[in-house]
């Protein structure tokens, strides 16, 4: 699966529309994920997972910042996310199935905020992007 030029354009445009709400989006995506997929909470035994908690906000911010960085480096995701890839492979070891859950929740969050602008084409581009990011993060697992 390869990101086409059109996909990349749509991803960048979409990210550009978020107008500074990135942090909220990150926190919301995580909250949705913990809510819809409770097993994902097992990776955060050290967190206060109540809605709006500082830790969820802080972590949402981190995740979104990483995604923002990935979007700035769409032509070289492997390199841009190399440190995170190591972290996930050797320390965090989050089962890859969870990347799909977070991707899903992020997309739902984006869809609620972008409404009609979250067209099928945008949806597909974001889904492929998150898929590519997940691939890179799981790349060194074995």
């Amino acid at each position: 699966m390869v990101l086409t030029a059109e996909d990349k354009k749509l991803i960048q445009q979409t990210w550009g529309k978020l107008g500074g709400a990135e942090e909220d989006i990150g926190a919301e995506a995580l909250w949705r994920m913990f809510h819809s997929y409770p097993p994902t909470k097992t990776y955060f035994p050290h967190f206060d997972l109540s809605q709006g908690s500082d830790q969820i906000r802080g972590h949402g911010k981190k995740v979104v910042a990483a995604l923002g960085n990935a979007i700035k480096n769409l032509d070289n995701l492997s390199q841009a996310l190399s440190e995170l890839s190591n972290l996930h492979a050797y320390n965090l070891r989050v089962d890859p199935v969870n990347f799909k859950f977070l991707s899903q929740c992020l997309q739902v969050t984006l869809a609620t905020r972008l409404g009609k602008e979250y067209t099928p084409e945008v949806h597909s581009a974001v889904d492929k992007f998150m898929s590519a990011v997940a691939s890179v993060l799981a790349e060194k697992y074995r």
């Binding site: 699966m1 390869v2 597909s124 492929k128 799981a138 790349e139 060194k140 697992y141 074995r142």
Partner: protein, 142 residues
């Protein structure tokens, strides 16, 4: 996920043995697939899927042949299976989940026939290899 030199060596070594019974293993793998995962039969409405049918044997042979090609070109599986990749992407469109199922069945067939050779390391190497093959075959889906 990349195949290490050790992985490649393990795959090539076992293949030398598997190749001597490739057709039988291919047929058995498909039989296991259709038996354990009946939904996979939906991709073969035009086949006689009874045990030992000529079509099953023919198809098992085809599958193992392709795997053999991948083994021979283990350093560039993508190039070796380019045509098959297009076939799966534009015509067959087998849902990727089924590659995992078939890979699993192939591993079982090989393990059953070569129990002494199928150590945990060899098992992992073969799982990674079949995973790579599956990736290549689903690469052009979108």
């Amino acid at each position: 996920m990349t195949l290490t030199q050790a992985d490649k060596a393990a795959v090539v070594t076992i293949w030398a043995k598997v190749a001597t019974q490739a057709d039988a293993i291919g047929t058995e793998s498909l039989e296991r697939l259709f038996f354990s995962y009946p939904q996979t039969k939906t991709y073969f409405p035009h086949f006689d899927l009874s045990q030992g049918s000529a079509q099953l044997r023919g198809h098992g042979s085809k599958v193992m042949s392709a795997i053999g090609e991948a083994v021979k070109n283990i350093d560039d599986i993508r190039r070796a299976l380019a045509k098959l990749s297009e076939l799966h992407a534009y015509i067959l469109r087998v849902d990727p989940v089924n590659f995992k199922l078939l890979s699993h069945c192939i591993l079982c067939s090989v393990a059953a026939r070569y129990p002494n050779d199928f150590s945990p390391e060899v098992h992992a190497a073969w799982d990674k290899f079949l995973s790579s093959v599956s990736s290549v075959l689903t690469e052009k889906y979108r």
